[in-house]
């Protein structure tokens, strides 16, 4: 049994709320071309999503980090879009 099943519910809720605000900030960062912010968000999600039990977010974090490093704006947009969809989906169905 992994602890991620036992991560307290309110911690999961807060985590997802913070990812939603990350998502909002990411959209702004795309507009201003702030690649380092996008890379940081991708990197963090890659590193911590699974520990909270949100395995589905981790590949998106990887995609975002890679795209931001390469400054590949199309891929960034796609990853941020996927990110927003996935987070909203978790909030609706899992929490």
């Amino acid at each position: 049994m992994s602890f991620s099943n036992q991560v307290p519910h309110e911690m999961k809720v807060v985590y997802i709320q913070r990812r939603l605000s990350d998502f909002a900030e990411c959209s702004k960062a795309i507009a201003t071309g702030d690649y380092s912010f996008l890379e940081k968000v991708g990197h963090q999600v890659k590193g911590n999503a699974e520990s909270f039990g949100f395995d589905a977010l981790s590949p998106i974090g990887i995609a975002l980090e890679t795209a931001a490093k390469e400054k590949n704006i199309e891929e960034i947009k796609k990853a941020v879009h996927d990110f927003g969809t996935a987070v909203a989906n978790i909030q609706k169905t899992e929490l």
Binding site: S4, V7, N48
Partner: protein, 461 residues
């Protein structure tokens, strides 16, 4: 005594998660987003903790750099690194920087917990080693030693051997189930002999990754492999003219077995990456919970090494086979923990004493010790009752266990068992003795495995 953990991670979410996890398990946590700050607090003695868990990649100084700085201060607090990188080199680098262990992301909490508990245990064992010196005193004219309790023939024999071999340098192999007191006997050998002025160093061969154990034991030259940024003196040398206690020797892999054999034959070692031989003076004492003779038969353990280690075998019987030691041990632990916790006047009820004797103590003396410590702290009245010591859920298994114990006097005389029933009972008993290992059970009973499996299946119905 709550253990104190410093947690370092620049990711605030992970930090919260870690802290929540450990606080729920009753640890006290201290959170740092910056390793440099943690380093400052520890080196200024502002923070006092028992174990440190740190992320690998951090903004100011990395987890590795942090570990190196801590070690260069001579700081002994065990450090566990969390890394997102699964490469072996990273692990090697971590351990060689002086980290106690490393854990790969995503964080698998049970694994992290095991690592933390092991680190804490290690720290405690090292402390015990210092305190033990004052506890173990030879009482003139008897074979009993203060601090090692027991009046059963089994433990007396072990102590007597320990006392006699303490004056020599022969290799000693201590065997017995986990928690029976192998390590305490090894320390006794050390303390009673002329080596007591030198270090007693214990290493558990089962708890260190194989590739790192070799450099732990033998040491290495600077730059002998990736991550070997400093030279390292191995434990054979560090033990000096003291004792090197190799615990769980049965878990040593074959290649290290060959190397250990050479060390024992030649009494000299080469650090990894060096050509020069250095003599060693340490006495080697080994322990295992396995049956090494059987491991030899199964070709898991070298026969030549076995004979060399087994010059003086000391066997410590499980606690359930020396029930006369239970009460003296229980009283000893009661006094010890009463003193440690400033508790007065607690004693065991008669029922409780009886229950202590009946309990199977699968974890042996260690389990007894832990149970008494807990009971002492939790019991509300002065009189400690049996369910303070043995929780109800375990008491059930105790019933079935004594039921299983092969004792004809316990068989109801009004209804004698049929021979079939008796066979089944005996099989269950043998299986319990062999801790559920079917192969060994079949062998002991001299029946083939298929017969055993068939019987067990039938018994399920």
């Amino acid at each position: 005594m709550k253990a104190r953990i410093a947690l370092i991670d620049d990711d605030r979410d992970t930090l919260k998660l870690l802290s929540n996890f450990f606080e729920n398990l009753d640890y006290t946590t201290f959170l740092y987003e910056d390793a440099l700050k943690a380093f400052e607090d520890i080196s200024n003695a502002k923070l006092n903790c028992d174990v440190i868990v740190t992320d690998f990649s951090l903004p100011n100084i990395s987890g590795i750099e942090f570990t190196k700085r801590m070690k260069s201060l001579g700081n002994q607090i065990p450090i566990i690194l969390i890394t997102a990188n699964r490469k072996v080199e990273v692990a090697v680098e971590a351990i060689h920087a002086g980290a106690y262990d490393f854990v790969v992301k995503p964080i698998h909490f049970p694994q992290l917990l095991v690592s933390v508990e092991r680190a804490l245990h290690l720290a405690r064992v090292e402390q015990d080693n210092q305190t033990l010196k004052t506890v173990v005193k030879l009482q003139e004219g008897t074979t009993s030693l203060e601090g090692v309790i027991g009046k059963s023939p089994g433990i007396k024999h072990a102590l007597d051997l320990a006392r006699r071999v303490s004056q020599s340098s022969s290799n000693v192999l201590i065997s017995g189930e986990s928690g029976t007191g192998k390590e305490i006997i090894a320390k006794t050998i050390h303390i009673l002999g002329p080596r007591k002025k030198f270090p007693f160093i214990a290493i558990n061969c089962a708890s260190i990754p194989e590739n790192l154990l070799e450099s732990e034991l033998f040491g290495h030259a600077k730059g002998s492999f990736t991550g070997a940024s400093e030279k390292k003196v191995g434990l054979f040398e560090e033990a000096d003219a003291g004792t090197l206690f190799l615990d769980e020797i049965g878990d040593l892999n074959l290649s290290l077995q060959a190397k250990l054999l050479r060390v024992l034959q030649e009494r000299k070692i080469k650090r990894i990456g060096e050509n020069q031989y250095r003599p060693i003076r340490a006495r080697i004492v080994c322990a295992t919970h396995k049956n090494l003779r059987e491991e030899v038969e199964k070709k898991n353990f070298r026969e030549d090494l076995f004979f060399r280690l087994n010059v003086i075998p000391i066997w410590i019987p499980p606690l359930r086979e020396r029930k006369e030691d239970i009460i003296p041990l229980a009283e000893f632990f009661l006094n010890k923990f009463s003193a440690l916790n400033n508790i007065r006047g607690k004693f065991f009820s008669n029922d409780c004493l009886e229950a202590l004797i009946k309990h199977p103590w699968k974890g042996n003396v260690r389990e007894l010790e832990n149970s008494i410590e807990r009971a002492l702290v939790l019991a509300e009245k002065d009189r400690i009752e049996s369910d303070d010591v043995i929780p109800i859920d375990q008491a059930d298994t105790r019933e079935t266990s004594t039921e299983n114990a092969f004792d004809f006097s316990r068989i109801s005389q009004s209804r004698l068992l049929s021979v079939e029933e008796l066979i089944n009972k005996y099989i269950s008993y043998a299986l319990e003795i062999n801790q559920g290992v079917k192969e060994k059970t079949a062998k002991d009973l001299q029946i083939d495995r298929k017969t055993l499996y068939r019987r067990l299946k039938e018994m399920e119905h």
